[in-house]
Amino acid sequence: MSVPLTLLGLLEREPSHGYDLKRDYDAFFGKGKPLPFGQVYATLGRLARDGKVVVGDVEPGSGPDRKRYVITDTGATEFESWLVEPVEAEPHLQTLLFTKVVLALMLGRDAEAYLDTQRAAHLQRMRELTAVKRDGGLVDALLADHGLFHLESDLRWIDLTAARLDALAAEVARP
């Protein structure tokens, strides 16, 4: 998650105080990991330094939250190009999962048991996300679905790998 670009996106809706940005970030994107106030203001400070936001009306009083931030043309352009750019289709070939399976096979350990344990852990997480979908709103469901599809693709890999363990063991064995 790119915090500066996400904050720019929230400012693209309307000029906002740091407090409002934090509240909306936590509600939609934080999911159990709220953004510290310090990070909000530090990020806004850097965005201002780089000319991507400016401080609009300063309200009377003290403290940082009397400032209202407004996105600039530079900020809006950067946000726009980030938004339309596809996320890198990372093949994740060297995941921890892969490394553990290959190492288990090289060392003559029980790779199938490892895959079974991993499958159970994945399914447990999928059950939790399914509960989030049942109990939460549509935004929560959208986020849970993203997680579920990723976990499901890992599970397919786990199943396929489990079916090929004997052949894989032969391939990674020392001659």
Partner: protein
Amino acid sequence: MNSSETHPLIEARDITLSFGQTPALRGAELAVQRGEVLAIMGPSGSGKSTLLHCLAGILTPDSGEVWFDGRRIDALGENARSTLRRDRFGFVFQFGQLVPELTAEENVALPLLLGGVRRAPALEQARAWFERLGLDGLEQRRSGELSGGQAQRVALARGLVASPEVLFADEPTGALDSLTGEQVMSLLVAAAREQGTTVILVTHEPRVAAYADREVIVRDGTVKSLVAGRLAS
């Protein structure tokens, strides 16, 4: 895997079953508690549907025992098993379940009619399920006039209308797209929990299995129970 304090509602004890020379189950063990929603997973041909059919008294194992509610059912005659299936079990399969000549509400009422409930109260009970499953207005349709998701919800209503103690569901979302399949699963689990029905669900889809309380994997005709972080029997 059962302790002596908990009596499973339904249990397979060391069951084997071969089709000709091909073994489908080789010493399968499974215990399901009352009210539990269990997913049976496993690769194609692993024996998961055969296990479900043995638990439901549709197939008889070559050896081993199947117990339901304190009674051994694999040794019962065909008539007794058929009564058991009609009175205490419900079923949902992947496709081809609705009787095309009957209306949707008659299809739902079928288990009640077969169980001896008179037509008017049976249809009244059946109709209550239409609103519950978002099928209002479709009561008079025949199966050819329903979408796949609607037909599967009608089949689900039929599986649950007689308040069975166990609902057996074999790939209930297998013929549906993923969004429709999730709607059906979510309704299935909610309705089963509401009336305390135990669910035994066969699926190869992890997203469907994630609606269950726990899952077991059938591999080469035996059952593995998986617990996150460790591997049970």
